[in-house]
């Protein structure tokens, strides 16, 4: 039985609902309709009263999730698109993120963000906002790249006592498949060596992991071994695993789909430069999207985001090939 990334997300939610009576799901169209992307398909029927349609009120959606969480529930909030989380922004970054630090009362909410570009989605249905959330103290930001991680990390997101921003990549929803659901997983906070290699470290997360793997496969045919590190979560970042990889390879390229100013690629490069400067044989490199809103037209869109092609070109530069 093969499972898609989206199905894994649905299954994780089904399991969380089944195993933990504190869990409920709240978001626009998540009920009978099963969500804009069908991530909650049939769940309202299977778990009556626990998968509820919300009004178009992201601030109140997140605010009420905070209230329920501090009262002992484990809400999962679905944003229809990550881009609309700006409306729930204040409740996420000021209310949820600071609550435990202020009061010692944990605030275990999960905010699911359908992130990232797909063709024809345009500036307001394509955003990758992990950097915005990771900047604020008090949030865990997960960015699963695989079907297995989508499943196990979402379960872990529900289990931990902190607010979690769960960044799902829309491009992976339907096309990324695995043989089945995982039975074990790396803990959150640990990066994964998605492919080992000795010549260069290529750090990526979310959908970019697959572009990175494409590049690594391509380079392997030419005899160059790229090590691909999948960060899995961008807050915390598993700096140790990245540094250990750089210790092996001496070269670092960090790729992210988000905008270039600040963000994951800056944070990873700054950490490696600060903590492992002498392990670097070449200047560390970053590759991000362009510094404009995300364009609608497919041709613009594919030039805007990093792709296997632009990553390969950066890698060649780094390897002086």
């Amino acid at each position: 039985m093969s499972v898609t990334y989206l199905e894994a997300i649905r299954e994780a939610q089904a399991r969380a609902l089944a195993e933990d009576s504190r869990v409920y799901i709240y978001g626009q169209d998540v009920g009978g309709f099963g969500g804009a992307f069908k991530a909650t398909k049939n769940l309202a029927k299977e778990f009556p009263g626990r998968v509820n349609d919300a009004p178009i009120s992201e601030d109140a959606i997140v605010g009420s999730a905070v209230g329920a969480a501090i009262e002992g529930m484990r809400p999962i909030v679905e944003m229809q698109f990550a881009d609309f989380s700006t409306i729930g922004f204040n409740q996420i970054v000021n209310q949820a993120a600071a609550f435990h630090w202020r009061t010692r009362v944990p605030c275990p909410i999960v905010v699911r963000l359908p992130c990232g570009g797909v063709t024809g989605a345009g500036p307001f249905h394509s955003q990758s906002l992990e950097a915005i959330y990771a900047h604020y103290p008090g949030l865990v930001v997960m960015t699963p790249a695989t079907v297995e991680d989508a499943y196990s990390m979402l379960l872990e997101a529900v289990a931990i006592d902190d607010p979690v921003i769960f960044c799902e990549h829309k491009l992976l929803y339907y096309h990324l498949k695995a043989e089945g659901l995982p039975t074990e997983a790396l803990p959150v906070g640990k990066a994964r060596i998605a492919r080992p290699g000795r010549d260069m470290t290529l750090v990526a997360y979310s959908a970019m992991v697959h572009e990175a793997l494409d590049v690594a496969r391509e380079f392997a045919t030419e005899g160059t071994e790229i090590e691909v590190v999948d960060l899995r979560s961008v807050k915390p970042i598993d700096t140790d695993t990245v540094v250990a990889s750089v210790a092996r390879t001496g070269r670092l390229l960090v790729v992210g789909e988000a905008w270039p100013w600040g963000g994951v690629t800056a944070e990873v490069v700054a950490r490696v430069a600060g903590e492992a400067f002498h392990l670097l044989d070449a200047p560390p490199m970053r590759l991000n999207s362009k510094d404009t809103p995300i364009p609608f037209h497919p041709d613009l869109w594919s030039a805007h985001r990093p792709t296997a092609r632009s990553i390969a070109s950066a890698a060649r530069h780094l390897l002086r090939l």
Binding site: I56, F84, D291
Partner: protein
């Protein structure tokens, strides 16, 4: 003079002219034909992303566009093809934006319903629902600063968008500033799949008017004459200093949320109710009944619109998309302050 919260009846303006009705009907036809063509292009794989139609909402939408004049400002939403056309958007703008032509007003940067020409008073919608209302407030504030009088700003939203904080802050702001805002709520009883019972608990959305100290109007969104009458009156009141006007029209969307959606969630009772009538058919009946045109005349009118749409589509299909290599990847107007962020 001004009576906040007073609710006007959707009285059919007896003086409504045959000409107005027929003009409105033509725009509705054009919008419908254009929508059908866009749906076909979408099914044919020619359109990237989604297609959002206004089927069943043309009467209300066209009434907004026709109540406005040059110099006014209009922020349409996803179901406002008819209103856009009536206000002056050309078919080419619509087709170019949907097909991503680099010659369109959005140059392939933004798509489908996210189109506009701010310098001509049509604002391109932000996807975030409710977010255009304060922007129109601001345009009206600017016009007031500049001494432009007799202008109106219209914003179109759905029942779902009334739940946004943006709606509340902006309508309240317009009321405090006594802006000539016409805020039109198309209550089509669903926000995507969500019925109004999960969206609000008031009897009617027009009951919100009194809480803002603005005038409320309700109307039958299926009845073109009612829509024209209500919108004209609301726009005239706004224009003449009566402050913001909240118009709530009841109707049903006769299509999916987007063309990917079969709208299976819409209740059969609603579909079978008077709300479920097709405003275009209702308008046509009225035309026939009044003898303003006959079947043949209407068929000819429709053919004219089909011709216009086909021509526009044929043109645009030959147009190039944007060229990523020629694209200037700068978000800022001040080029000298842009950063390049090239990897290499």
């Amino acid at each position: 003079m001004r009576q906040p919260g007073q609710i006007c009846d959707s009285a059919i303006d007896a003086s409504l002219l045959r000409e107005d009705f027929l003009r409105a009907f033509d725009w509705m036809l054009l919008a419908r034909v254009l929508d059908e063509k866009l749906a076909a292009l979408y099914r044919g794989g020619k359109i990237h992303g989604g297609v959002y139609l206004g089927t069943g909402q043309e009467a209300l939408s066209v009434a907004i566009g026709m109540a406005l004049r040059k110099g006014d400002v209009f922020a349409p939403l996803i179901r406002d093809g008819a209103g856009r056309l009536a206000f002056g958007e050309c078919v080419l703008d619509a087709v170019r934006t949907c097909l991503g032509s680099c010659l369109g007003p959005m140059r392939g940067r933004d798509g489908n319903v996210h189109r506009g020409r701010p310098t001509e008073g049509i604002l391109p919608m932000l996807s975030h629902l409710g977010a255009m209302i304060p922007v129109v407030n601001g345009v009206l504030m600017a016009k007031r600063f500049k001494g432009e009088r007799d202008v109106v700003g219209a914003v179109s939203i759905g029942d779902g968008a009334t739940s946004t904080g943006a709606f509340h802050e902006a309508l309240n702001q317009a009321a405090v500033e006594k802006l000539p805002l016409v805020l039109v709520v198309a209550n089509n009883h669903y926000a995507y799949s969500t019925p109004t019972s999960r969206q609000f608990a008031c009897e009617s959305l027009v009951d919100r008017a009194v809480g803002y100290g603005v005038r409320g109007h309700s109307c039958d969104g299926v009845d073109l004459a009612a829509c024209l009458g209500t919108l004209n009156r609301a726009a005239e009141l706004a224009r003449s200093g009566d402050g913001p006007q909240l118009v709530v029209a009841e109707l049903l969307r006769l299509c999916g949320h987007g063309e990917h959606d079969d709208a299976g969630y819409i209740s059969p009772e609603l579909k079978d109710s008077p709300l479920g009538r097709d405003c275009l058919a209702v308008a046509k009946e009225r035309i026939l009944r009044e003898g303003w045109a006959d079947e043949t005349g209407i068929a000819i009118r429709r053919q004219t619109q089909v011709g216009a749409v086909e021509e526009a589509v044929a043109t645009v299909l030959r147009e190039p998309g944007p060229d990523p290599f020629k694209e200037s990847w700068y978000a800022l107007a001040s080029k000298h302050l842009s950063e390049s962020h090239e990897a290499v």
